[in-house]
Subunit: 158 residues, 2 copies
Amino acid sequence: MVRLDDVDLKILLALIRDPRIQVSELADEAGVARNTAQSRLRRLQRSEVLREGGRDIDLGVLGYDVLAFVTLEVNHRELDAVITALRQIPNVLEIHETSGRGDVWVRLIATDTHQLQSVLRQILRIKGVTRSETTFALHSHLAYRTAPLLEHYAEHDH
Amino acid sequence: MVRLDDVDLKILLALIRDPRIQVSELADEAGVARNTAQSRLRRLQRSEVLREGGRDIDLGVLGYDVLAFVTLEVNHRELDAVITALRQIPNVLEIHETSGRGDVWVRLIATDTHQLQSVLRQILRIKGVTRSETTFALHSHLAYRTAPLLEHYAEHDH
DNA sequence: TAGAATTTGAGCAATATGGTCAAATTTAGG
DNA sequence: CCTAAATTTGACCATATTGCTCAAATTCTA
């Protein structure tokens, strides 16, 4: 597992915001010398925290091992408030309104099942949430990718 | 909706592979002059095809408007073969093995419901897939993000 | 407290960037 | 088919950035 200190974190956040940011700016953001920023960046790239070059981050490598998909049943009148509350939770990575049984689909991540429990309780306390159903992602067989679709796009959809 | 030609596509694919790639390499990859690569890159950045935040590309902007989550029930003996088959499909963006009712969770994207139908048929024809359940994502209330979690990480999980 | 590891600042050469420009080429319309 | 507009190209330039080294300072670890 990879551990990040404050400097790594600031560099990562800057890279997420703008993957093409300059090393010198990275250094400014993190408040370190350019040399340091450069070696930290190199290390982050090697460590596989940065997936495929730079945009996405491998949270598993950081110790977030529990991924879950949560389906919420929501009182429609309070949907907006529920969404707003969900967005406040850092462990909530993605939210979609869906068709079908539940109303809202949520991607949740946590360090362990204990932390997940705690986040789930937090969600169930939100006014307007009437029911929840949690599915654990036990193993990722294909991490989010768009390249094949784009390659396809040229020949077909377009 | 944004339309991409072959040059845009090659530039995008190169950027996905390595977001920090140099403009001159981008030009080589796309087989155009550096000036052209530079102006295309600028345009792509402005057009919001390139997203800031976690995930690379905004597929909605390209006309992929239908997002669906599909839960598959799979004959365990043939799981590996099913995964392999699913990976071949460009419209499959993500695959997870899950606990709970279904066995495999799939993120599907398509230009329209007709194309989605076609992909779903393709999936149901895979040997080992016994049942499927599709949920439509009608509206995204929070696009994939990791920044808040990382900011949180500093103070807590770490 | 000693030794190891990291950070810093400086300096340097090679390269990349962002910009301009005129000419060539391609695209779109009539 | 021809013209006008848009895009692309290659050349050029000044400036900024990169990747690298090195010795000194600082921080971390045992």
